[in-house]
């Protein structure tokens, strides 16, 4: 899996890593989808654009992940795949209780412990989600 769940007493702390930006964004989509519906199959039926927002790459990635949580909570939109990067576009479908398990409701992506690193080998980000 392109993400790891790390120890945190109350919430969900996770790390995503990838060789390039598109893969990093896809890893975030995989993480959020897994936290929300587990292994339930999710189809790419609809697309949402997530316009980049933020002064640097770290902030833009933070706000991308935060927008995924908003789409889940406000629209029931479960992300499946990153289909574009300029601007980031995400395909997925609406949550369907008949086909999707309900694993977690994610309240928010916190700024506590947020780390974003870019190195020769690629990208790595650590995040804490409030549940």
């Amino acid at each position: 899996m392109p993400f790891d769940l790390l120890a945190h007493t109350a919430d969900v702390r996770a790390a995503v890593s990838a060789p390039d930006r598109p893969a990093l964004y896809q890893a975030a989509v995989d993480l959020v989808r897994t936290l929300v519906v587990g292994d339930s199959p999710v189809a790419a039926r609809e697309t949402r654009l997530v316009p980049p927002d933020g002064a640097d790459e770290a902030e833009r990635f933070f706000r991308f992940v935060r927008e995924l949580l908003f789409l889940v909570d406000a629209e029931g939109f479960v992300p499946q795949a990153v289909t574009g990067m300029e601007p980031p576009a995400v395909a997925g479908e609406r949550y369907d209780p008949a086909r999707h398990t309900s694993e977690h409701q994610l309240k928010a992506l916190t700024r506590h412990g947020y780390e974003f690193r870019q190195a020769a080998a690629g990208y790595r980000a650590e995040m804490v989600f409030d549940l």
Partner: protein, 483 residues
């Protein structure tokens, strides 16, 4: 993930530990815990977070942590801090994403002996009546924009006016279920979008509705006033402001990050971003936070109504009509309160992040029912053991800005809890122990196994021993509804 200060504590007595001021801390930390709890806390991020809060400008008295302390984000869960209106700050991280997450307790006229045979039917009815988990909504409570504004202004009073409760309920809610300084104009369109269809829904994670039985009474006279006779069945509801509150926090954290830079406030953790009390940023957050808090009061009121309907459906109208609200407390909130500081009364902004207000007998904010007794303090435990009803004390008012613990406190991460639950059928185990579980998510049940939490008995023993809470009654779960 470390702050700038390395936590080191020294014992004060059997229940108190001092985290001495060092580095850029402006004050000491004060942690309530017994020796065993402190051993478990050693090296934990939660103590670093106690120290981090002590860095904030204008903090008055120590950075306080209750015995249910655990690692949060920004403030520790179980954290209490008061700030001077002159030079102090307000921090959304000191309130949390789930603004006015809280607990309410309903005492029914039913005895456990008459409930046991129909408990499964009651749990099924509750599960149908109170939506939980992803995509949950109440078709009967979809709000127009004007109605949502009204909810944010009137809180539980809106719900009662809508027929979701009785006037008497309002007398047993912190602040009467309505915070007067709400300003819906400070709540964004995105927050409204998230909250619009979520009134009357439970959420997930550690939120729950429990059917419980009064299993022990430490203070029989006080328990009688609260309607908590031996064997009485109670309903406890734990939930908050749902997506509306989460979005209010997110929106204003962005504002506060910029404000912290503008006002030159150095932060050991960005989640502690804040603005000076009285500043435009602080006032806007204040209005939005109170609006979200009122949404939470209305949310718990709507679920109370659903619980009464479920009781009526299974046990007849007497069960609903005779169910009386014991109390409703917020445990994620900031309040403007008056407290004595070195003998002088001062207005302060008290942040409670996973901590419960615990005002003493005689406090003018208490309604007549509890004026002579003190404020009820509701302490949920875990699915398998117990919850507690306490009372606020003069000790709490003098030492912790009138605050007490808010729960048992997690001791295992969700990942560790899931590992511990692997290969087990937790719901079946609980059923064998006499606790029926209904849940939207098996993952949540596994992550919420009893051993994921400290023993609430130990936690309430600490606050009782330290004199910041007084034990009244123990409630044991017989049915649990989880998101």
């Amino acid at each position: 993930m470390k702050g700038r200060t390395a936590p080191r504590v020294e014992p004060i007595d059997a229940w108190r530990w001092r985290l001495p001021r060092h580095g850029d801390m402006r004050t000491d930390g004060l942690v309530f815990a017994n020796g065993a709890m402190m051993e478990e806390l050693e090296g934990d991020e939660a103590l670093t977070q106690v120290a981090n809060v002590a860095h904030l400008p204008g903090i008055v008295g120590p950075s306080i942590a209750m015995p249910d302390i655990h690692w949060g984000y920004g403030f520790p869960i179980g954290g209490v801090a008061a700030f001077d209106p002159d030079g102090g700050v307000i921090s959304p991280g000191g309130v949390g994403y789930d603004i006015n997450c809280g607990v309410r307790l309903l005492a029914t006229p039913l005895h456990i002996e008459e409930v046991r045979p129909k408990l499964a039917a009651l749990m099924d009815r509750l599960f149908e009546s109170v939506p939980s988990g992803l995509g949950a909504g109440r078709p009967d409570l979809r709000l127009t924009p004007a109605e949502l504004d009204d909810v944010m202004v009137r809180g539980a009073a809106w719900a009662v006016a809508r027929g979701l409760g009785v006037e008497d309920d309002l007398a047993s809610i912190e602040a009467g279920g309505t915070l007067a300084e709400a300003d819906p104009a400070q709540v964004s369109a995105r927050a409204r979008q998230r909250g619009r269809d979520q009134l009357g829904t439970l959420g997930s994670g550690n939120h729950f509705i429990e059917v419980q039985v009064v299993a022990g009474r430490d203070d029989e006279a006080a328990a009688d006033v609260m309607g908590l006779g031996p064997g009485t069945v109670t309903v406890m509801i734990h939930s908050g402001s749902r997506g509306l509150g989460h979005q209010v926090c997110d929106d204003h954290l962005d504002v506060m990050l910029a404000a912290s830079r503008r006002y030159g406030i150095e932060l050991p953790d960005p989640q502690l971003c804040c603005a000076p009390l009285g500043s435009p940023e602080a006032e806007r957050y204040w209005g939005a936070m109170n609006a979200a808090a009122n949404f939470a009061f209305a949310n718990r009121q709507a679920m109370t109504h659903a619980a009464r309907r479920a009781l009526a459906a299974v046990f007849g109208p007497r069960a609903a009509d005779g169910s009386r609200l014991v109390y409703d407390v917020a445990h994620n909130i900031a309040k403007r309160e008056t407290h004595a500081v070195r003998g002088v009364e001062r207005a302060l902004c008290v942040h409670r992040k996973g901590a419960t207000r615990a005002f003493p007998p005689g406090h003018p904010e208490l309604r007549p029912r509890y004026r002579d007794l003190g404020q009820p303090v509701l302490i949920p435990g875990d699915m398998g053991r117990a919850s507690y009803v306490l009372l606020g004390t003069a000790g709490a008012f003098a030492e912790t800005w009138g605050s007490c613990c808010h729960g048992a406190g997690r001791r295992l991460s969700r990942r560790a809890a899931k590992r511990a639950a692997a290969g087990r059928d937790v719901a079946a185990e609980l059923a064998r122990a006499g606790v029926l579980v209904r849940a939207a998510s098996r993952a949540t049940v596994d992550e919420e196994i009893p051993e994921a939490y400290k023993d609430v008995q130990d936690v309430v023993d600490v606050v009782h021993g330290a004199g910041i809470g007084r034990k009244v009654a123990q409630l044991r779960p017989v049915g649990v509804l989880k998101g």
